[in-house]
Assembly symmetry: C2
Homo-oligomer: 326 residues x 2
Amino acid sequence: MIRIGIYGYGNLGNGVECAVLKNPDMEIAGVFTRRDPDSVKTLTGIPVYKAEDVLQFTDKIDVMIICGGSATDLPEMTPYLSRYFNTVDSFDTHANIPEHFEKVNEAALASGHTALISAGWDPGMFSLNRLYADAILPDGKSYTFWGRGVSQGHSDAIRRIPGVKDARQYTVPIEAALEKVRNHEAPEFTAREMHLRECYVVLEEGADPAAVEEAIKTMPNYFLDYDTTVTFISEEELKEKHSELPHGGFVIRSGHTGLHNEHAETIEYSLKLDSNPEFTSGALAAFARAVCRMASRGQYGCKTVFDAAPADLSLLSGDELRHRML
Amino acid sequence: MIRIGIYGYGNLGNGVECAVLKNPDMEIAGVFTRRDPDSVKTLTGIPVYKAEDVLQFTDKIDVMIICGGSATDLPEMTPYLSRYFNTVDSFDTHANIPEHFEKVNEAALASGHTALISAGWDPGMFSLNRLYADAILPDGKSYTFWGRGVSQGHSDAIRRIPGVKDARQYTVPIEAALEKVRNHEAPEFTAREMHLRECYVVLEEGADPAAVEEAIKTMPNYFLDYDTTVTFISEEELKEKHSELPHGGFVIRSGHTGLHNEHAETIEYSLKLDSNPEFTSGALAAFARAVCRMASRGQYGCKTVFDAAPADLSLLSGDELRHRML
């Protein structure tokens, strides 16, 4: 049995707890939280410990799945924990991955651990599909579309506007743009041409809707460069219709083969997810298995999804994989 | 530079020649043919040698891409050549893969070579997608649909019927079946419910169309279990409209996550290919790069697409991959 630790117990930690139930070769050794452990009830009754006591578990956990946020948690947690445990995280601030990699690599190499960062779907499965498609169809162009789904970063940005009580932002891929890519037009898109932003906003009492709408639509980086719709709804409607965290998207590569580029080829990978954190957790669990195997072979240091041989993700043996999946 | 040998020069050999042009770290050392080399003109003027002289090239070729058929060529060629070269093949008789693996593994291990079998798209990229989807979404069901595309095996089967001069068979996935899978109905399909078979047939002079149609539609394994349409056309029309080899298909996994399986998740991978052999060749070239790297690390023996770390397929360094693709 692979003994999994869960470090951090929010949406992602819950998801990992559920994902481990689906993997008969895994069990959870414990959940670690910065909150008071007595205040945390796990879904399946697994024990909860104080985060500060985690080093008492170095011989009881094979892989620690670190379920923190990318903004401030993981840049501290993953390098620290990778000195004592094999780890997996879902660090998803794309621009800072190289820096995160270096820090985690140093910690893991120095202590003889394997630490796989940025597992999930983007980064994660989408990254793998970008790599495979680029390698087998080198003369082409890749596109990534996200949605329709809830962007938690954009929802948070709206919530920080004065007068906003709560909000949900959906990122929506533009169908006409997808079609252009599939038709091998190899377009150069602006941000506005690829995605719409749909906002559902609950106002504080007495707030000015026009001012809030203006504040959203002119927010740089988040909304200014997009066609954005703002719909004001009641708190009850938000809870009823927008409490889930669906997401998904498309990685499409359009390219050409042949001596004179006479043949068009399209590779398309897509996800349609009712639960972004639960799907991400499924990926974290599978890559935890790969980390366990890599560590047992002495493949230490920081790894990414690009470094794990696909067979290492599977519960099946090489022989079973060749019989059933090849 | 990775020095590639091409063993066998039909559609696939042509495709590999074109694919190598798209990979700036590769060059072709030579083409090997069982025909008279003087009778073979390559697309780009690369030299052609007799297949029987291949052992004179053991120090001039880093990876031999074996471009033979799966029925009789590859079961002989790959074990033989893997004693002298690192190799890649596209062996695609799914049921015989385990036996092929054992023979190739013995040859490659004994001589210190790396031999990757069954690269292409199915087996190949479709297999990888079956494995990844199964590993990250263990509670689910996977489906593979093929087409719309030319099945060369089925076209050949029609050509063997007396009275048939030429034929092309298209495998067509049934849209309603795809929709059922995407809607998480987790159906159990018969063969007939997943694919149609469209046949375009040129008759010999004086042949009886009714007899030919009957012979096609009642052919066991190939057509009997499918809804099959037969359209008789002239030789000119076949040449004009059906001389290309398009193909493609879908790997879809539908599954559930959450403590009570309350969330549905869908993973879909699809290919739409103008040229089946050229796309397959692109995969062969990328896996040849991976074979080269695995061999340089002493990872000998028979491998499949499941054993190659994705990073090994790419021309980019680990650092470049993390910056650009993750």
